[in-house]
């Protein structure tokens, strides 16, 4: 019998007014759903013969199959089914933009809510972590060394796939902690760091060596890595270079890039200051500029750090916001104030150079531009002041130029993205592959993972030839 309910099974969450004061995960309980609830939700899947949902998944997770295994209570098998194509289910179940991918295509969504594919993925992954011990995998090493630069989702996936096939993989990570954006960007309340740590431990168990504090381009050049015996190199260095707007007052004290703000809080644990040594400054009134996941994360962190009023200042309307629906929804529940169709023009400071007020203008949506979104236009005479002490710029990141600048012959786009062959991730240099945000510019975890996987395949082929 097919479950006819139009709504998803509700996930258990911390009360918004409690959670906006702590850094614990929003969803309550480890898995968000109980087994009964998960089965109930899984029962809503129609098990379509030609499942549209799978078309929406960038890595082609076998969605109806894993959901059916939940219905029959074979949770470990369900997990293994997802793992066949997705190496980070616990992460993706939490951070993928399901509403524009798998769930957007789910036929149940034409009338009522789609099946909660993301929540089910997360449930299965968490169940696995809690109850099923990872079987130790013994892989015979084939003696071929591969270097992976960066330990974000792209690098981790590429390393994992290669290690499973016997390659000797070394990850070189610039930071003192592996995980990339999963560790320094996405906050604990959305993606518990212990989960990411588990994924990295698994890689280590597979024999992957993780070398921290290694800024490639400085400590080793790509050529030196090759001389050291690495037969192939994968670049997964992400898009870490923050953009600023170029408006007056951006260097006042109290203006941060979202990267700085989030790194201080997530990676350096500034929310535990002074127990941890790294501080962060958060005023009573905070404006976050931007409308993506990064902006939502920064705003919700600011609230948790004790800010009274936190504004999201975004120059288009809510419809155009690139953030996941769930993040927008959670942010609103937590009391974040949305100032839409608004753009900052100037930041003004006190005599001592601290942010005091931000001048904004109102916008209206005009003609559609190249990417099909309506272009915001300034409404004349709409200047107004927003008193804030902290301004956080979350208007985008581009790839860090360090590797490009220190590697002769590595082709890049004018904006910094590494040029690759779409299907393989091969760069302009032989034996050097790239993927993830370093290639696409800031995108998503799942796309980075998919790119890491593709490159791993191509590297295997290259090294077998």
């Amino acid at each position: 019998m097919i479950d006819q309910t139009l709504k998803k099974v509700e996930i258990l969450e911390q009360d918004p007014n409690t959670r906006n004061k702590n850094f614990l995960e929003v969803a309550l309980g480890y898995m968000g759903l109980s087994e009964t609830m998960a089965k109930e939700e899984a029962g809503r899947c129609l098990n379509c013969k030609y499942p549209k949902c799978m078309d929406g998944c960038p890595v082609g997770v076998q969605i109806p199959q894993f959901i059916e295994l939940i219905v029959s209570g074979d949770l470990e098998e369900a997990y293994q089914k997802i793992r066949e194509t997705n190496s980070l289910p616990a992460v993706c179940g939490r951070v993928c933009p399901q509403e524009s991918q798998c769930e957007a295509k789910c036929v149940r969504g034409t009338k009522g809510e789609p099946v909660a594919i993301g929540r089910l993925e997360r449930f299965v992954a968490d169940w696995h972590i809690k109850y099923a011990a990872n079987k130790p995998i013994h892989v015979a090493k084939n003696g071929k060394k591969v270097a992976v630069i960066g330990s974000g989702p792209a690098g981790l996936t590429c390393a994992g796939d290669l290690a499973k096939s016997g390659y000797e993989v070394t990850i070189f990570e610039a930071f003192h902690t592996p995980g990339g954006v999963l560790m320094y960007g996405i906050p604990e309340f959305r993606l518990p760091k212990a989960l990411v740590q588990k994924e990295i431990d698994q890689l280590r168990a597979l024999g992957v060596e993780v070398r921290l504090n290694m800024v490639i381009g400085r400590i080793y050049s790509l050529d030196e890595l090759k001389q050291d015996g690495y037969a192939a190199i994968f670049i997964g260095s992400g898009a870490g270079l923050p953009s600023f707007m170029g408006i007056p007052g951006e260097n006042l004290k109290g203006v941060f890039s979202a990267n700085e703000f989030l790194t201080r809080i997530n990676l350096m644990k500034a929310y535990k200051f002074p127990e941890c040594d790294t501080p962060v400054k958060v005023g009573k009134n905070v404006a976050v500029i931007g409308g993506g996941n990064v902006a939502m994360d920064a705003a919700r962190c600011a609230k948790r750090m004790g800010a009274e009023k936190v504004y999201i200042v975004y120059r288009r309307s809510e419809e155009e916001m690139p953030a996941r629906n769930e993040e927008i929804h959670h942010a609103k529940e937590e009391g974040i104030i949305f100032k839409l169709l608004t753009a900052p023009t100037k930041i003004m400071g006190t005599e001592d150079g601290w942010v005091k007020v931000m001048e904004c203008v109102e916008m209206k949506l005009g003609e559609r531009d190249g990417d099909g979104r309506r272009r915001p236009v300034i409404i004349k005479g709409s200047e107004h002041l927003l008193p804030v002490e902290t301004v956080i710029m979350a208007i985008g990141q581009s790839p860090n130029p360090l590797i490009k600048d220190t590697t002769a012959g590595l082709k890049t786009e004018p904006w910094g993205g590494i040029v690759v062959e779409e299907e393989t991730g091969a760069t302009s240099l032989p034996g050097v592959y790239a993927g993830g945000d370093a290639v696409t510019g800031a995108a998503t975890v799942i796309l980075a993972m998919g790119a890491g996987r593709k490159a791993a395949q191509a590297i295997k082929k290259y090294l077998q030839a």
């Binding site: 610039a174 400590i219 923050p242």
Partner: protein
């Protein structure tokens, strides 16, 4: 097993200033004058940038010199040879450009002398004529006098209170050299922002190219946070990747001076808490 970076040698240069040699062969192999490292002592520690004062590629050692001003530098200063720190990243930043000059004035203020030293040393090895002027608060806070003597053609040491017999600021000595008709094709000024600003005012008038070294607050040191930003020639630059050396005449010093004290309050709190704990133990 956690990898640690071992302290090979520790030497107190003055009661506040400590020199340490750290075992970091890969960093030593690549280090060049002008570059820096970032260290973190332990799991709860902050990331602190320090200029590379010297390196020995054969022994795999990097020398750092630091003033014990905040919690982390005090904590590091209290450690001894044989102990290890958790993280030591580098070499970061662009190496100093020291080619194609003949007569250079190297001006170091206080701890800035430790940053100026490897540059002077390198210049000397390139057979450049180096006049070095280094200034300190008093006689007891003088560091690297011997090393700077070896790394320069002539060395002038000034003290604010005159306790070494040469009272005045580095700018006073430098002004005197200029008025005597000394000609330089490059001035390297490294020290407190106020001092670098003052030197730049002198050299702007005299139209001498001047390079300064920024000592900004940093987190990652690789260009991903923007916390180290400053305005140079009207544009935003990141000290950690675009610098730390910058053309002095283009730097907005007033902004940099203002940004330096963003975390002053927190630093004080952190330090007080640290010292209070030490007192209890």
């Amino acid at each position: 097993m956690v990898h640690m970076y071992n302290i090979v040698k520790k030497e107190k240069l003055t009661p506040q200033v400590t020199l340490m040699e750290i075992n970091a062969p890969l960093v030593a192999k690549k280090a060049e004058p002008g570059q820096f490292i970032i260290f973190r002592i332990d799991e709860d520690g902050e990331r602190i940038p320090l200029t590379i004062a010297d390196y020995d590629r054969d022994k795999g050692i990097v020398t750092i010199i630091f003033q014990e001003v905040g919690k982390s530098t005090k904590k590091l200063g209290a450690m001894d040879a044989g102990q290890g720190i958790l993280d030591f990243v580098g070499p970061l930043g662009k190496p100093s450009h020291l080619d194609g000059v003949k007569k250079v004035a190297v001006i170091g203020g206080g701890l800035g002398t430790a940053i100026a030293y490897p540059q002077a040393k390198k210049l000397k090895s390139l057979r450049v004529q180096v006049d070095a002027i280094i200034g300190f608060r008093n006689k007891d806070s003088i560091i690297l006098e011997k090393e700077m003597t070896a790394a320069s053609s002539r060395l002038f040491v000034t003290t604010d209170d005159g306790s070494n017999g040469n009272k005045g600021f580095v700018t006073d000595t430098f002004k005197k050299l200029l008025s005597e008709g000394k000609i330089y094709d490059l001035v390297i000024a490294i020290g407190p922002l106020i001092m670098m600003k003052a030197v730049c005012e002198l050299t702007r008038e005299a139209e001498i190219k001047t390079v300064i070294s920024m000592n900004s607050i940093m987190v990652d040191g690789t260009g991903m946070c923007g916390c180290c930003r400053l305005t140079v020639g009207g544009k935003i630059k990141f000290a950690c990747v675009d610098g730390p050396d910058f053309p002095g005449h283009e730097v907005d010093f007033d902004e940099a001076i203002s940004r330096q004290d963003i975390y002053r309050q927190e630093e004080r709190l952190s330090l007080e808490r640290h010292e209070c704990r030490l007192g209890k133990n």
